[in-house]
């Protein structure tokens, strides 16, 4: 099959006695949209933070974009974009200033950056709001902006942690159009969500329950395997086994 861009084996994270992520192994291929599903507290965010070089694994190995997640975190960071669950751009900077800041951080040349900023603003129809303070934007827009910031430097992989949390259905739809367009350009998308309808948009999905990966395949194969009408049912079958509550 296509070449592997993320490869993880036996990845574990323990906080004291609590095993947040329990020996998970999987591969993600270049250019696919990889859905990382699970209930709240299943360990999705913790796993993702390890892949992004924000957190050291307790055990296990993995590579992201060809770099080791334990020792080459800083090299990984050159090649990825990350959008956190919680909106984490600067409220007191304008839309344009935020994009330019992150473009600059990734070392984009001035000319290249201003072209890219224009292109992104255009794509999101943000042009007339480019000088608005981020604090004045509605949540849906903030999320789109956060996505743009995560992709400003055209990274190989983008990690999205519940990007559509708390967003209305229309904006969610638009958001997924953005994701698909980005994937079509060859960027690998690694996305966590607990909206099961969104799972259908993914090329492949993994289901996490209590820190372990319980299923991993394309949405259609999973439906077949669990004899379900939709992903919702797949999820219920798996989640019923869960011990952990939040």
């Amino acid at each position: 099959m296509a070449d592997t861009i993320i490869s993880v084996s036996g990845l574990t994270k323990q906080f004291g006695a609590f095993v947040a992520v329990d020996h998970i192994s999987f591969d993600v291929y270049r250019g696919e949209i990889f859905g990382f599903l699970g209930a709240n507290g299943a360990g999705k965010t913790t796993a993702m933070r390890m892949l992004c070089g924000l957190s050291y694994p307790t055990a296990g190995t993995g590579t992201v974009a060809g770099f080791d997640i334990r020792s080459q975190g800083e090299l990984i960071k050159r090649n990825i974009g990350y959008m956190s669950q919680r909106f984490s751009l600067y409220d007191d900077l304008t839309v344009k200033e935020n994009i330019e800041l992150y473009g600059g951080i990734y070392g984009m040349a001035h000319k290249e950056l201003s072209e890219r900023v224009d292109e992104l603003l255009q794509r999101l129809q943000f042009i007339e709001h480019k000088d608005d303070l981020v604090s004045s934007l509605p949540l849906g827009w903030k999320q789109k902006l956060a996505f743009m910031v995560a992709t400003v430097h055209s990274p190989e992989i983008v990690f999205l942690d519940e990007p559509t949390g708390g967003v209305d259905p229309i904006t969610r739809r638009q958001f997924w159009d953005l994701i698909k367009a980005t994937a079509a350009e060859g960027t690998t998308i690694f996305v966590t969500t607990h909206y099961m309808d969104e799972a259908e948009f993914c090329d492949r999905i993994s289901m996490m329950v209590d820190g372990k990966i319980r299923a991993l395949d394309s949405p259609s194969n999973l439906r077949q395997q669990f004899n379900a009408q939709n992903m919702e049912q797949v999820f219920y079958r798996l989640a019923r086994e869960a011990q952990r509550t939040e």
């Binding site: 070089g53 924000l54 050291y56 975190g73 800083e74 960071k77 751009l89 200033e97 951080i105 990690f159």
Partner: protein, 369 residues
């Protein structure tokens, strides 16, 4: 390195500019410290209230009384009663000092075997008690000596000691406190601003977005700190101008030495603030601990009370307090015109502490945990 740093600094400056409270506060702070605080920081005790008990009623005792009454320090309190009643007044806190002249003091003094004049001070406030006694003793002594000289008497009690005050001949305590207030200004800015800045980023999660980028630890720290170094030096310059305009105080030595020390001091304190921010979980924690240190720095570095009067062990502790060095430099240069080469020890210590604190800051900042 060279390309990212200006971008990050620009971001910090933009955020600073957009902040509603901060820039205003930073203008208010030096004004408050330089204009108002010098009025407060006076050690001289005045208006010591005195109960005068005179059992002698001689020309000498009258002279003593008028000397006391004419002094700025004392306020003669109308009182009729005996010593016991006076003591009761003292205990109630209604008076600060009792002067009791024994009967036939003047006569006995000439005979060479006088009973002592009794001075009793309420020393609950140690400073006030001690100074009150000291001034009163001096005043009474001068009255005795004056009388003796007028009468052409040979007095063994008088000896020829002259006192020469250098560097601050008018004895203006404000001149001594102004450099300390400038240091307090630097201390508050460099300790609290970077701490608040980083803790805000931590609590809002914005620091995590930075942590997933390839920005180096050093660059990130520098970008946080450089704006505050600049702000601190600008504020110092502003405070120095105010001190000149309002109190006519100008450095006797080179202003360059002051700025060198102040810059090293800003490095120390901001490095310290970043370290504390890195190891704190919440803003509340960070703030509380910082208050603790700022109080220690203010009260134990010779800013407000002399280091020499602290016990040995406490003096040893202060060797790691950057304010102790910078205050010495500022006071020496301001008042005594001390030269850079005479201050090498303080400057070197500041430099060492600056390196130490900033190394700590960079080590404790973890992008991955």
């Amino acid at each position: 390195m060279s390309t990212v740093l200006p971008i990050l600094i620009k971001k910090e400056l933009t955020q600073f500019r957009r902040n509603k409270a901060l820039p205003r506060l930073l203008v208010m702070l030096p004004i408050m410290l330089v204009l108002i605080m010098p009025l407060v920081t006076q050690m001289d005790v005045k208006n010591i209230s005195v109960v005068w008990l005179d059992q002698d009623r001689s020309s000498l005792s009258m002279r003593m009384k008028s000397h006391l009454a004419n002094s700025d320090y004392f306020m003669m309190q109308p009182f009729a009663g005996d010593y016991e009643m006076a003591l009761h007044q003292l205990d109630m806190g209604n008076t600060d000092l009792i002067v009791s002249v024994p009967p036939h003091f003047e006569r006995d003094l000439q005979g060479g075997h006088a009973n002592s004049i009794l001075l009793v001070a309420n020393a609950v406030n140690a400073t006030k008690g001690a100074q009150g006694l000291q001034y009163a003793t001096q005043t009474i002594a001068s009255a005795i000596i004056e009388l003796a000289q007028e009468r052409g008497l040979e007095t063994d009690t008088v000896s020829l000691i002259t006192i020469e005050n250098r560097y601050n001949p008018t004895g203006n305590y404000r001149y001594y406190m102004l450099p300390a207030l400038m240091i307090i200004l630097l201390l508050l800015t460099c300790c609290f601003l970077p701490l608040l800045n980083i803790m805000t980023e931590k609590e809002h999660g914005t620091i995590e977005q930075i942590n997933v980028t390839p920005v180096g630890r050093l660059e990130f720290m520098l970008a946080k700190l450089i704006p505050y170094w600049i702000i601190a030096l600008v504020l110092l310059g502003f405070a120095m101008l105010l001190a000149w305009a309002v109190y006519g105080l100008v450095p006797d030595g080179r202003a360059g030495v002051i700025f060198l020390a102040a810059f090293l001091f800003s490095l120390c304190m901001s490095g310290f603030a970043v370290t504390l921010a890195n190891i704190s979980d919440t803003m509340q924690q960070a703030i509380f601990v910082m208050f603790f240190f700022v109080m220690m720095f203010m009260l134990m570095s010779g800013l407000l009370t002399p280091i020499d009067s602290m016990p040995r062990w406490a003096q040893t502790v202060t060797y790691v307090f950057p304010p102790r060095y910078v205050i010495n430099v500022l006071r020496s240069v301001y008042l005594k015109g001390t030269l850079l080469r005479e201050l090498w020890f303080d400057i070197t210590m500041l430099a060492i502490l600056a390196v130490a604190f900033n190394t700590l800051a960079t080590i404790t900042y973890k992008k991955q945990n």
